[in-house]
């Protein structure tokens, strides 16, 4: 389990990193926390000709408030920092709630927020959470930059629209409206293990306690994070009741997912999990919204 020979670049600034990526083209691969890439290289499943290591670029690691009340998170910010940042906890309690499901604290200290999103592992929590939170992603290349929504970035398992000469530089999370609640539910074989199925939800109530908005994402039951359309159709404009949650759960479990059977779970069991977890997650999220988020 030794990687194939590769070149190694350690730029000290974003500009230098982008220059290097532009030069390397298809040969270059960004190294962030390395918690997935290095293992894949050791298995020789990933064989990049060159690594561009961002760990020496301090300007990519930050959590800054945005003027609109949201947060901008630099791509190299460690998951552990996001997990323990008081501003994050105050504005987006979903993030620390999810973070404790991501592997173990040693791995979270090394793994990066942006790296996990750009890796687009269908079983990874952060790509799904980025979709749930409708994150805006800043993609930069040499002399160019563009913004893309998380749902548009991820186009398949481990596939994104990031070009070889580009990198994910920043994740911007917009402030939640008042009376917003969120919740994360996951079932995995082991603590810190891959999810057999997981559900994240962010819901907002209006002044009449009707559902104003809902973003429900189903994870590990398809090739990409699945944003439930049924949830919006069934819930928006209505009183969120246990029966309504059940209806969403049933619709999601039967028509919105495409779970696989593998060593650890059958597709049928995964559908069952989605049914159970959707109802639990919505109940909890609306409860929190009612209590003020």
């Amino acid at each position: 389990m030794k990687p194939v020979k590769f070149d190694y670049y350690a730029p000290a600034s974003v500009d230098e990193a982008l220059d290097t990526l532009a030069e390397l083209g298809y040969d270059g691969k960004v190294l962030a926390g390395g918690q997935s890439l290095i293992a894949a290289m050791n298995f020789r499943m990933a064989r990049p000709a060159a690594l561009v290591d961002l760990n020496n670029v301090p300007e990519l690691s930050y959590i800054n408030p945005t003027p609109e009340g949201g947060l901008a998170i630099g791509t190299m910010t460690r998951v552990y920092q996001v997990e323990h940042d008081p501003e994050v906890a105050k504005r987006f309690p979903l993030l620390p709630e999810v973070a404790k499901f991501i592997a173990h604290s040693q791995i979270r200290r090394r793994g990066t927020f942006g790296g996990a999103i750009a890796h687009a592992d269908p079983a990874g929590q952060l790509p799904s959470i980025a979709v749930t939170m409708d994150a805006n992603l800043l993609i930069r290349g040499k002399g160019k930059e563009r913004w893309v929504k998380a749902a548009d970035l991820i186009i398949g398992p481990f596939m994104t629209t990031i070009e070889p000469d580009e990198m994910l530089a920043e994740v911007v999370l917009s402030a939640n409206p008042p009376r917003t609640g969120s919740n994360y539910q996951q079932v995995s074989r082991q603590s810190g293990g891959y999810a057999q199925a997981a559900v994240a939800s962010i819901v907002t109530l209006d002044e009449n306690n009707l559902c104003k908005a809902v973003r429900l994402v189903l994870m590990s039951v398809g090739e990409v994070p699945i944003l439930s359309q049924k949830a919006s159709q069934i819930l928006v404009g209505h009183v969120p009741t246990a029966d309504a949650f059940k209806a969403v759960a049933e619709a999601a479990a039967t028509s919105e997912i495409d779970p696989a059977t593998d060593l650890h779970a059958t597709a049928k069991y995964r559908r069952n999990l989605i049914r159970v977890l959707v109802a639990r997650s919505l109940a909890e999220a609306f409860g929190r919204a009612k209590r003020g988020g």
Partner: protein, 781 residues
């Protein structure tokens, strides 16, 4: 039996060294000019080799040599039978097909080595593997045990009439007659799933042929340094003392490291001698999963015959045992299954039949438990089935049939892995369960806790099982105890150590006899230049067999101290006593001589000594038991099951055990905890899975789930019972495998109990939530 040192909860002496990262492991061995090896392994499970073209690999810069089977000439031979079958079992059949060092003509399991590259670094060696063209014609893979047994099956070994590796029938009493007397007969088909040893450190091997000294030094992660030395010397046509095997610190053994006939063991010494170079090979995790041995994988057809009141009249078990592609370890594992199926209970009539079968899978040899967990699993499952049938409480039916102290020693009529008829030497099996039920508050759980939890919507369930652990088997071990001129003591033994705490417990045994501080006892294990007789570390025999040899040697040294001191102090022996680190005259502590000084006097450099006096304060002793000593215990698990997601939390885990005399209660508890974690892994996480083409689906920790600290219950409650074994002077029984044995059946029983309304009838030793969901779904229909 507690003394000044013996029996005390002394913290591990080796931990400071280990935890501060200063211990030497095999990857720390660096020798100038050392080369590195990597194996090309077959992707096919079963195939005829057409061509292996290594010409490009040989040209790869940095590559020193590439070999396939043909390059080894006459050196290529199937390996030795590491454990022959017992000859005492009448009418048994056994077909030895031992491991080949590297595939020739045919590959028989996915992961079998087909070529080896020697290069300047492991990186280059792995690069060069990709330059080898391996062309083979795939054959259908033999995977299903029962189909493999049929004469019509594709054969793993073409020169055999079938895939029969062994057929063993043993009977005590007469089962069919007993069945006629029975009120009820319950039958089940049960599965014992396969698990890996999965030690923290994989296997490793460094070999250095020293042309000038005509000596071969081998560093290996072996549980059996002396058998490895014999094997290498035999293969290389050297006398044993030209081969020195050293086992440094090892990150866990768990069974698979007992093997001495794997590709690395056999090929690397030859290559080192041919190239006259030191060579290092460190197995990676994928190789460990694919090609190092693993265990369990049995299919049992069981029948239990009982009276209405729950008294067992007889038990019948016909089982298929997967030995994998070869059977170098004989029948040890299934024999252990046979002996452990009935050893808890009073079962007058027992029929047991092993159908050991070759398949296109990695080889099966012992993994912690070594056949015992399978035997206990099927017996305990059958007790559950019987209890259900008779509408009895699972604890009650066990209580009725467990052996009592006055029934020992008990001959079982079944010949086991130690080649003699099983004798349960001592114990109080019923007492184990009584104590367990008290500790777990069984009555209260059934009457109050469980019903109350149900009212609150919580599904709690309990499982209670009994088990035995055959331990402390022969043939023998030895030790040499020496007092140095500095007054410190060294003790050398032939076994090796993989983390058990030998450096501490052996020191305690010596310190107790010689009245020296434990810190002043240096334990040397696993260096064949220090001690060159012994069999190895397995079957819970380190502390019991090597420990007893150490005790015996210490007693001899103590006698010599008294004899020598008597002479130098000028008083009779009965007037001499051991003070800490010195010898003094009784009642006159001011007249004394330090042990170090006495050791010097016992080894004079000039002058004359009496003809029959051996130099120094030193003695060598051996210990060989007539047969193994049997430990026992009982285990309870309480689970909390979410009936919707099937997530399971272990609320409580209680284990009562009886390993006779305890050397160190702290280490004992640690060892039981470690084995329990393995048992929980076996019950709910770890499982080796092959697909129908013989491809291993669990070749990494992503798919093979190891239990983690975070998966363990908050507390493991351990209770002790003590019945001395009459088989050794200290009254010890082994305990290394105890925790791993009862956990799966207790877990399964608890899960069934938590979901009692579904009337599950679980047949598998390894569960996962999805599988329980499928069981529930089936039972609903």
């Amino acid at each position: 039996m507690t003394g000044k040192y013996f029996g005390q909860p002394i913290k591990r002496l080796e931990d400071k060294h280990l935890l501060s990262g200063r211990a030497k492991f095999i990857d720390d061995i660096e020798i100038p000019g050392m080369l590195h090896a990597a194996f090309l392994r077959s992707d096919y499970a079963h195939a005829i080799i057409k061509k292996i073209d290594v010409s490009e690999a040989r040209k790869h810069p940095g590559v020193v040599a590439v070999y396939t089977a043909e390059d080894f000439g006459d050196y290529w031979k199937p390996g030795p039978l590491q454990v022959p079958p017992p000859t005492a079992i009448k009418g048994s059949q056994f077909n030895a097909r031992t491991l080949v060092p590297i595939a020739k003509g045919k590959v028989r399991f996915s992961g079998e080595p087909v070529a080896i590259v020697i290069a300047e670094s492991r990186y280059i060696a792995e690069d060069a593997l990709e330059d080898i063209i391996f062309d083979a014609e795939p054959l259908p893979a033999v995977i299903d045990l029962e189909k493999a047994w049929e004469d019509t099956s594709v054969k793993v070994h073409d020169d055999l009439p079938s895939n029969l590796a062994a057929l063993v029938k043993q009977e005590a009493g007469n089962y069919e007659e007993a069945k006629k007397q029975a009120d009820v007969v319950v039958s089940r088909k049960l599965y014992a799933d396969r698990v890996a040893g999965a030690a923290m450190e994989n296997r490793g091997f460094v070999v250095n042929w020293d042309e000038r000294n005509q000596e071969m030094v081998v560093w290996a992660t072996t549980q059996a340094p002396l058998p490895l030395r014999i094997a290498i010397a035999g293969k290389m046509n050297l006398i044993e003392n030209q081969v020195r095997v050293i086992t440094p610190f090892i990150g866990g053994g768990f069974g698979p490291k007992i093997m001495t006939s794997q590709a690395d063991d056999v090929l690397l010494p030859w290559i080192s001698m041919k190239l006259n170079k030191p060579i290092k090979w460190l197995e990676d995790r994928r190789e460990n999963f694919l090609a190092t041995t693993s265990e369990r994988d049995q299919v049992h057809y069981c029948e239990i015959a009982l009276k209405k009141d729950g008294t067992i009249l007889g038990f019948k078990d016909v089982f298929y045992h997967n030995t994998g592609a070869y059977d170098p370890y004989g029948m040890t594992v299934p024999l252990n299954t046979q002996t452990h199926t009935v050893s808890n209970y009073r079962i007058p009539n027992f029929y047991t039949e092993i159908r050991m079968v070759f398949t296109n899978e990695m080889v099966v040899t012992p993994v912690r438990g070594a056949g015992r967990p399978e035997g206990v699993f099927v017996m305990e499952r059958m007790m559950d089935a019987a209890a259900k049938e008779l509408k009895m409480d699972p604890a009650e039916i066990r209580m009725k049939n467990l052996l009592k102290p006055e029934e020992f020693p008990l001959k079982t009529g079944i010949i086991g892995q130690d080649f003699v008829e099983g004798v349960l030497d001592s114990g109080d099996y019923k007492g184990n369960l009584v104590k367990l039920l008290e500790m777990v508050e069984y009555e209260k759980f059934r009457k109050e806790i469980q019903p109350q939890a149900r009212k609150e919507g919580k599904h709690l369930g309990i499982g209670v099982v009994a088990f035995t652990e055959g331990t402390a088997v022969g043939p023998y071990e030895g030790a040499r105890v020496t007092i140095g001129n500095n007054g410190k003591v060294s003790v050398a033994t032939g076994i090796s150590t993989q983390g058990q705490g030998h450096f501490t417990v052996f020191a305690q045994i010596v310190a107790e006899q010689l009245n020296v501080k434990v810190e002043d006892v240096k334990v040397i294990t696993g260096d064949t230049n220090h001690f060159h007789w012994g069999a190895g570390t397995f079957a819970s025999r380190g502390a019991t067999i090597a420990g007893t040899a150490i005790h015996n040697a210490s007693v001899l040294v103590r006698q010599k101290i008294f004899a020598t001191a008597s002479k130098f102090l000028g008083v009779p022996e009965d007037q001499v006593e051991l003070c800490e680190g010195s010898v003094c005259v009784k009642g006159k502590p001011e007249i004394s001589i330090s042990l170090g000084e006495l050791a010097g006097k016992a080894n004079p450099m000039r002058g004359a000594v009496e003809a029959d006096v051996k130099p120094g304060l030193e003695a060598t002793a051996y210990f060989a038991p007539p047969h193994g000593a049997t430990g026992s215990g009982a285990c309870a698990i309480i689970v909390d099951v979410d009936p919707e997601t099937l997530k399971i939390k272990i609320d409580r885990l209680v284990l009562v055990h009886d390993c006779g005399t305890v050397i160190n209660p702290l280490l004992l508890e640690g060892q039981i905890q470690g084995a329990i974690s393995m048992g929980i892994g076996n019950a709910f996480y770890e499982k080796i899975v092959y697909d129908e083409n013989g491809q291993l689906l669990t070749a990494s920790f992503m798919d093979y789930l190891m239990p983690q600290a975070t998966d363990m219950p908050n507390k493991m409650e351990i209770g002790h019972l003590h019945t001395s074994s009459p088989l050794n002077p200290l009254g010890m029984k082994g305990v290394g495998e105890a925790g791993a044995i009862p956990t799966p059946p207790a877990f399964v029983q608890a899960v069934e109990d938590a979901l009692i309304e579904y009337n599950l009838d679980i047949a598998d030793s390894n569960l996962n939530p999805s599988m329980i969901f499928e069981y529930m779904h089936r039972s609903k229909k």
